[in-house]
Amino acid sequence: MRHTISVLVENKFGVLSRVSGLFSGRGYNIESLSVGETIDPQISIMTIVTSGDDWVIEQIDKQLNKLIDVIKVVDMKELDHVEREMVLIKVAPRAEDKAEVLRIAEIFRGRIVDSSQKTYTIEVTGDEKKIAAIVDILKPMGIKEFVRTGKIAIAREGLKKY
């Protein structure tokens, strides 16, 4: 079962490696991880997408809480929440597909953030399904590069502050 976990941590050096070390050391899986400062510059928030059965997820939750620098752990599964991920897709379509690429970008509310003679770079934001869908459609037209931020998530009524 896949879980998205938000982890509020002290914004100190070494914290990322404590968290990632916990996952690798105990054999847990990280599908994506993104980190950034919160409004309070002393606190960072990590969004980790991981998978495992209930036992594993319970241990991940407890082990994260046990880390000294971790302030709060929230499993988004338990909350009504919004998830987003941003991707940058560089497409190199054949001449006859160029218009189609632009149309697809528009349908997915993507933005063309760069273009060259042979390529377009499209920025798309959305949840997992939306990203998967646009990738699916663009693939046959020639995706040259693909970069994703990793998922971030926020609870609907707002995360309670620690």
């Binding site: 490696s17 241990q59 407890k62 809480n65 046990k66 000294i68 620098d69 971790v70």
Partner: protein, 578 residues
């Protein structure tokens, strides 16, 4: 007044009530060692290896309950502490280890004697720090001791770049401390505790399994009260030995791989398992799916990650063992009215039958020295009033089985990590804390050689530690597995004539060496050793074929035990269970 980082360090240690540091000097910690030269209140014990320093600090901590302190240099000095730190981490022992580091500007440059010790020890410390600014030093030291000694204790490392030890700043000692991200749970959930009390009242065949957490929490009195009041038999894990009197009628001794028949049998038959301050290590549970199959499980532990990590738990209670047991005892005495004696009669009778059926045993009719005999004699002569440390292997298991530990903090042994070479330096640490106590390291001829250099530390500091080497000229525990599961192919476990003459070694270090080769010589050697107020190395030449029984093969259920009598009789070859 402005103080240097080195001065602040020593001031902070004094504020924390530290009297002794174990350490080893080197380039980048010279400023600190220079400060120590004129220091009156703090004494540094120079070990002969950094690993020894950390184990000694660990032994000091286990014997006293206070944090042990070690100080080493950068690079190899720091990496040599890793085994000691990991040992302490696995057994939840509070340590504060200071390592020197190259100057801040050189960090990351592959400088001489540079090692990323913060990176290296991240997974085996409870927490670690790199001090970048002397202004943070006092706060960091305060936090380090706080983290090391509270909650589930553990080792904390502080990495001190050389320039931080020379830089000056105003010394401000933070009197109190609060960390928003670190708040251990001490009080157990009241409702859960009352559930536990009712489960205890309802149970027909309850068993307590007590672990090291009982000792760390100082809850031996509360445990005894609980066991005696509700008539509960108590098994103790290796780390829990001494938490409950081993000679008590309700004691089942140690469960698990080399546990007693009656401890394992009681657990397997039980309908309620009360796990207190223990973490269901694989050496205790054996095959998890077959562990305590009929039992409802109550698990009391201060570390939430210990609960439901290895086994299912019906009544989880996160909290400090002492506080939880105090409440539990209150509830049992107040709310629950039971005629405990009547209720438990049948179960305790059954346990007595288990005990009579298969007591711990060995071949007593030989002239050759049996290791168990040596341990029994040590137990008899010390009347249980000694601090015993062990190395790891057969020596450790025989000690756990045949010495009756009646008091907490009298058995110091590397349980979780299983570190050979732990016993001698740990004995030194314990002896420093208790100068008038008899401190004995029960060792093997293999493991004593892993930190034998610490004899010098014992001699020069006049620590009268005693080392009893059970010398079988083998790496005995591995040999035992090879005999039982690998067709007696003794691959690299035969030490034979490479084993040095321990009496001569003792003498070379200016300690006393004694030897016994016959059963009749054991008692005189021990008596003489205990009289001598100097370090003594005793070489007991034992039966090399002796094995630790009972034994649960790896991967088997804990009631699938091998016994001396049966293995002897059948003579059949055993296969390791995967």
């Amino acid at each position: 007044m402005k103080l240097s980082g080195a001065e602040i360090l020593l001031e902070c240690l004094k504020k924390e009530g530290v009297k002794h540091i174990f350490g080893y000097p080197g380039g980048v910690v010279l400023n600190i060692f220079d400060q120590l030269h004129d220091e009156k209140e703090l004494k540094l014990i120079l070990t002969r290896h950094e690993q020894g320093a950390v184990h000694a600090a660990d032994g000091y901590a286990r014997a006293t309950g206070k944090a042990g302190v070690a100080l080493v240099t950068s690079g190899p000095g720091a990496t040599n502490t890793v085994t000691g730190i990991a040992t302490a981490a696995m057994d939840s022992i509070p340590l504060v280890v200071f390592s020197g580091q190259v100057p801040t500007l050189l960090i990351g440059n592959d400088a001489f004697q540079e090692a990323d010790i913060v990176g290296i020890t991240r997974p085996c410390t409870k927490y670690n720090f790199l001090v970048k600014d002397v202004g943070d030093l006092a706060q960091i030291i305060k936090e380090a001791f706080y983290i090391a000694t509270t909650g589930r204790p553990g080792p904390v490392l502080i990495d001190l770049p050389k320039d931080v030890t020379t830089a000056k700043t105003d010394f401000v000692w933070p009197e109190s401390i609060k960390m928003r991200s670190y708040n251990p749970t001490y009080e157990g959930n009241k409702w859960m505790i009352s559930q536990a009390a009712h489960a205890i009242a309802k149970a027909k065949k309850p068993v307590i399994v007590a672990g090291g957490g009982v000792i760390i929490s100082g809850a031996s009195k509360e445990l005894k009260e609980l066991a005696e009041h509700a008539k509960l038999p108590v098994a103790m894990t290796l780390m829990g030995l001494g938490a409950f009197p081993g000679s008590h009628k309700l004691s089942l001794g140690m469960p698990g791989m080399h546990g007693t028949y009656y401890a394992n049998k009681s657990i397997q038959e039980s309908d309620l398992l009360i796990a207190i301050g223990m973490r269901f290590d694989d050496r205790v549970t054996g095959k998890v799916s077959a562990f305590a199959p009929h039992a409802k499980i109550i698990h009391i532990d201060i570390d939430p990650t210990s609960i439901r990590k290895n086994v299912r738990v019906d009544i989880p209670i996160v909290g400090d063992v002492k506080r939880v047991l105090t409440t539990l005892n209150k509830v049992l005495k107040g709310e629950v009215k039971e005629q405990w004696k009547e209720v438990r009669k049948a179960w305790l009778k059954q346990i007595d039958d288990f005990k009579a059926e298969r007591p711990l045993t060995y071949d007593r009719d030989t002239d050759i020295i049996k290791p168990q005999f040596v341990i029994e004699k040590i137990n008899e002569l010390t009347k249980g009033d000694a601090i015993i440390t062990t190395e790891v292997g057969q020596n450790q298991m025989w000690t756990a089985q045949f010495y009756k530990f009646d008091k907490p903090r009298t058995f110091l042994s590397s349980g979780g990590l299983g570190t050979m070479g732990y016993g001698l330096p740990a004995a030194i640490g314990a002896q420093l804390a208790f100068p008038n106590k008899l401190v004995i390291d029960i060792a093997g001829d293999g493991s004593i050689q892993m930190n034998i250099q610490e004899l010098a530390t014992a001699v020069i500091n006049r620590f009268p530690v005693k080392v009893a080497i059970l010398n079988n000229r083998f790496l005995g525990m591995v040999r035992q597995w090879q005999e039982l599961f690998f067709k007696e192919r003794y691959s690299h476990t035969r030490l034979d004539e490479s084993v040095p003459d321990f009496v001569k070694i003792a003498e070379a270090y200016n300690a006393v060496g004694l030897r016994a080769v016959k059963r009749s010589e054991v008692e005189p050697v021990l008596k003489e050793a205990f009289k001598i107020k100097r370090p003594v190395l005793m070489d007991f030449v034992i039966d090399w074929k002796e094995k630790v029984y009972p034994m649960v093969p790896a991967g088997a259920a804990i009631d699938e035990m091998l016994f001396l009598e049966e293995v002897k009789k059948s003579g059949k070859k055993l296969k390791a269970v995967k």
